[in-house]
């Protein structure tokens, strides 16, 4: 099966927003190899005639009526915030514009 290089793991860590040390990247790329080889077994039986299952229940059209319910108070909403200002969540400078 495919092996993951250190650079591959670094790219995954970037997508997942986790800073990683060189040692971690190294360890993970080794571990991923072992794990991926084990999990790749699913491909043995996942033939094209099998439909994928995303939800274990056959539920459909579960909706709620368009009715307003009480929100949190701003104090409660902000209670866990590492920083807040002017009733807003204060966050470090944002570099990139939204995708």
């Amino acid at each position: 099966m495919s092996t993951l290089s250190r650079a591959d793991v670094a790219n995954l860590a970037r997508l997942a927003r986790i800073e990683m040390t060189d040692q971690e990247l190294e360890d993970l790329s080794t571990e991923m190899d072992v794990i991926l080889t084990a999990v790749a077994r699913v491909q043995e039986v996942a033939t094209s005639d099998v439909k994928p299952t995303s939800h274990p229940l056959p539920l459909r059209n579960v909706v709620r009526a368009d009715v307003v319910t009480p929100s949190l108070t701003p104090e409660a909403a902000l209670s866990g915030a590492p920083a807040n200002e002017e009733q807003r969540f204060r966050v470090p400078q944002i570099l990139g514009e939204e995708a």
Partner: protein, 498 residues
Amino acid sequence: MIRLSAHEMASALEAGETTSEKLTQEHLDRISSVDADVHAFLYVDTEGALAQARGVDAARKNGEKVGPLAGVPLALKDVMVQKGVPTTAGSKILEGWRPPYDATVVKKLKDAGIVILGKTNMDEFAMGSSTENSAYGPTHNPWDLSRIPGGSGGGSSASLAAFEAPLAIGTDTGGSIRQPAAVTGTVGVKPTYGGVSRYGLIAFSSSLDQAGPCARTVLDAALLHEVIAGHDTHDATSIDAPVPQVVKAARDGNVKGMKIGVVKELNGDGYQAGVRSRFEESLELLAKAGAEIVEVSCPNFEYALAAYYLIAPSECSSNLARFDAMRYGIRVGDENGASAESVMNLTREVGFGREVKRRIILGTYALSSGYYDAYYGSAQKVRTLIMNDFTKAFETADVLVSPTCPTTAFKIGEKANDPLAMYLNDIATIPVNMAGIGGMSVPCGLAPEDGLPVGFQIMAPAMQDQRMYSVGAALEASLLTEWGAPLLSRIPALGGAK
């Protein structure tokens, strides 16, 4: 008093033989004396629990109608949010967070007058089978403190076995209720997916997670099951149907004429000898109680573990993205004009443990473009095959059974550096989660070779949870007759000594 079943405690409260406040205090005292050794709790809510207990006592005194478990204490797995009470899911990233809302399960517990003693230890974000992955240190198995209490809900199962609480809430994504129950000699039930609301359950893998009752007896589990189950409009995957009559089934314990299917693939090689012998004996007891034992084959179960280790990490990589240091939880590296992006990266590096990172990376890979079909997509197909196997097996049997785990509790540290060996613990419990059906683990004795508890797993079709309780109660009654006393009466004494 603390060694009684929850049902017996409730009767004593009803009869006025004790008060909830006294009962709660006794459990708090027990926690004070033994939890330094067991470490089942991450947070003990002494004041909150006593206040709640006094409330129930007052209500009872005023002649108000209270629920069947009102006033009985309970230990809550730290993955359930409880308003105002520190909730971490065993992770450093949520250290100090006090949720501004109650999970639906918590709301139901409070409404039923069940006293919440505190939050129990768990593998970080429920990822693990030993509770060693908790950011706050491992929990110890009361049967042997050098061994694991199972995971991820090791704190809940250990609290039961250590008589720190008669009831506990667990969550089960791949076996996190049943495996801890098995290795601690307690009862654990994973209800049908959608049977208990997930609202307020900190998600690990949304399509697999399910909260359920943990207890020392089958009847206690059933009583708790009925409290927490039922439709919830806040959970779109919640089933809008009456709760199966589990208490009645647990009281009756009737298996006469029931067909019990032994899953061929969940036994044999890789299963410890003592586990197998206890399992076989249990089958004989059930046959004596009037059940018909048949063998069924579920050939695709051998792929369940692989599929699970793709689906769960994939979903978790997305579910755990919200822990980003912006709105709650810890924030690391916010200095010298650092960007939000770098603060997110550093916080997640520091805040997540090794296993969590491993699974996030694995899941990120399995969902990434070019690999989706080969990994996540294929795993979803395996899921279909497993469901088909179950459907077919349930055509010949009313319930399916197997050992809950291949082995008894292993030593703390023994498998910590071998993820694959650790994952094998869940081999018998995972198929149930993949299909969204119900599963239960009932203690069925001690393995002769190590004297540690063995679990007997019962699986029932979706929304037929009562069948597990019928079988579980029948087996429990037969074993009690054999043993003369509950299994937990044989647990070594705890307390004081380090």
